[in-house]
């Protein structure tokens, strides 16, 4: 893999980390508001369903996870297990797809 690609991956990893940190904070603040505000699970779902803003937010959350996790695992697999090459990248791509599918499935269930 070229140095340029490595740099991009490094950058994407850091950017997605910053997005995730922000998403976790928003998610946490929302949970505190919902639970402390006395909203039941039913009422929470009542507010999230059909709300495009929440759908967009959690889609970004899932997208950032989908980028951040495989790139992080890539470094771990290379440095700890010595697994390099196309096989590793294909496996990580598959894992990323799995995360995206599972995450969006959950987001759609909360939205629809």
């Amino acid at each position: 893999m070229s140095a340029k690609t490595q740099t991009y991956l490094w950058l994407i990893q850091r950017l997605s980390a910053a997005v995730l940190a922000l998403c976790v904070l928003v998610h946490l603040a929302t949970l505190i508001y919902a639970v402390r505000g006395g909203l039941s699970a039913a009422e929470i779902l009542g507010r999230t369903r059909g709300n495009v803003a929440w759908f967009a937010f959690y889609s970004i959350f899932v997208f950032a996870v989908t980028l951040h996790v495989p790139i992080g695992l890539r470094a771990v697999l290379s440095e700890w297990l010595g697994w390099r090459g196309a096989g590793r990248d294909l496996a990580l791509l598959g894992f990323g797809v799995l995360l995206a599918w599972g995450g969006m499935r959950a987001v759609m269930a909360v939205f629809l």
């Binding site: 976790v24 505190i32 639970v35 759609m108 269930a109 909360v110």
Partner: protein, 400 residues
């Protein structure tokens, strides 16, 4: 540490996404989500996420600062630890909030029933109370506080501490009609209570004493029309479900009959057996024992069709076209009761109602399990409240 926690989170995430998506799929999405979130494994995994996220964030923030900020090492470590601590505290705060219902109930739970023993409200509360006692491992006590169409018990329940240990088990009209009937009500159904779940519902049955000359609904109607004001009907108290059901019948059958209030359905039916009144539109649960014991004769049911518990008893609608009346009994809680306790009572009641033996017991009483959510119950109560507002106004049923 950063990598280890990252690996653990990476392994956990697909499982978490899959489980959440799975729980929310299909028809009963809300119920399955609530059941899922109550699982001990899910609760335990929430704690695992807190620790993993805190650990991962510590390392992550530190890495970002090393690479992008010109701070000293000890400052970076301190800032990272502060960020992680803030995250952990926040998440623990959320988890401790949702953990409230896990320890509930720690002592006996009281159902205030606003009618004396023997009526349908009392029977329903006792049947459910027995099953919830098994589920909770804590006794469910039934306290009968009859009087003023359920208003006495309602006022007491409204003043109870909102800790979930005192719940109110009324018949529908106590929380949907009394506010339009009583000028000086000591409680406000909308402001003082929050819905938990509608437990059971069922039709009523029009009965007369076994030795009554009226053999059919038609006989009763003809007699009432021929002798205005000379037919007396009992009920469980002004504004009670039995009162409104009878008023509805009288109104739609175009009779002129006189209402006689009793302190509850049990006493009202006993008075009918003793011949004090001519007819009673009671709940099947309270009336069926008298009917099967030969003390009362059933003339008609308030459902659109015959019911299996009373074979051969025709619907009143066969004589009064379009007539239908349904009674219900449910749980409401004093406003301020913790939401998670309300959810627990609702879910456990739902579980109790799914029990085959319970279903059979309620069926024998002419009642069908409902177990709807607090939100659904709230909507249904609002709709019914509007209906009774109109009926009460049309029939001029008022107590000053």
């Amino acid at each position: 540490m950063h990598r280890l926690s990252g690996i653990a989170l990476a392994l956990f995430l697909p499982v978490h996404f899959w489980a959440l998506g799975q729980a929310l799929q299909g028809e009963a999405t809300l119920e399955s989500f609530l059941r899922w979130s109550e699982q001990p494994l899910v609760k335990a995994s929430e704690w695992a996420i807190v620790l993993l996220l805190a650990a991962h964030l510590t390392g992550g923030v530190r890495i970002l600062m090393i690479e992008f900020l010109p701070w000293r090492d000890w400052q970076k470590t301190l800032a990272a630890l502060a960020a992680a601590a803030a995250l952990a505290i926040g998440l623990l705060f959320v988890l401790s909030s949702t953990a409230h219902a896990q320890g509930w109930p720690q002592k006996p739970v009281k159902f205030i029933v606003p009618f004396p023993p023997g009526g349908a409200t009392d029977i329903s509360a006792r049947l459910l109370g027995q099953k919830l006692t098994e589920i909770w491992g804590q006794t469910v006590l039934i306290e009968n506080r009859g009087g003023a169409g359920g208003s006495v018990g309602a006022a007491e329940a409204a003043k109870a501490a909102p800790d979930g240990y005192t719940l109110f088990f009324p018949s529908g009209s106590v929380v949907t009609a009394n506010q339009y009937i009583y000028a000086n009500l000591n409680y406000d159904p909308e402001k003082d209570f929050v819905p938990v779940t509608n437990v059971v519902s069922g039709p009523q049955v029009l009965t007369v004493p076994a030795n009554s000359p009226y053999k059919s609904v038609k006989d009763l109607i003809e007699s009432g029309r021929a002798n205005p004001g000379k037919l007396y009907f009992g009920h469980a108290g002004i504004g009670s479900q039995t009162h409104l059901a009878a008023e509805n019948f009288v109104f739609q059958a175009k009779l002129d009959a006189t209402a006689v209030p009793y302190k509850g359905e049990g006493p009202g039916l006993a008075a009918l057996v003793g011949g004090e009144t001519h007819f009673f539109v009671g709940n099947v649960a309270a009336s069926i024992g008298h009917i099967k014991g030969g003390r009362l004769r059933a003339l008609g049911v308030t459902s659109k069709a015959e019911i299996p518990q009373l074979p051969g008893v025709p619907p009143i609608a066969s004589v009064v076209p379009g007539f239908e009346n349904t009674g219900w009994f449910g749980i409401v809680a004093p406003r301020g009761t913790p939401k998670d306790v309300i959810q627990k009572v609702y879910l456990d009641t739902r579980k109790a109602l799914q029990d085959a033996v319970m279903k059979e017991k309620f069926f024998a009483q002419g009642l069908a399990p409902v177990g709807n959510s607090p939100e659904e119950m709230g909507r249904a109560m609002k709709e019914e409240s509007e209906l009774w507002k109109n009926v009460v106004k049309a029939r001029n049923i008022h107590v000053k």
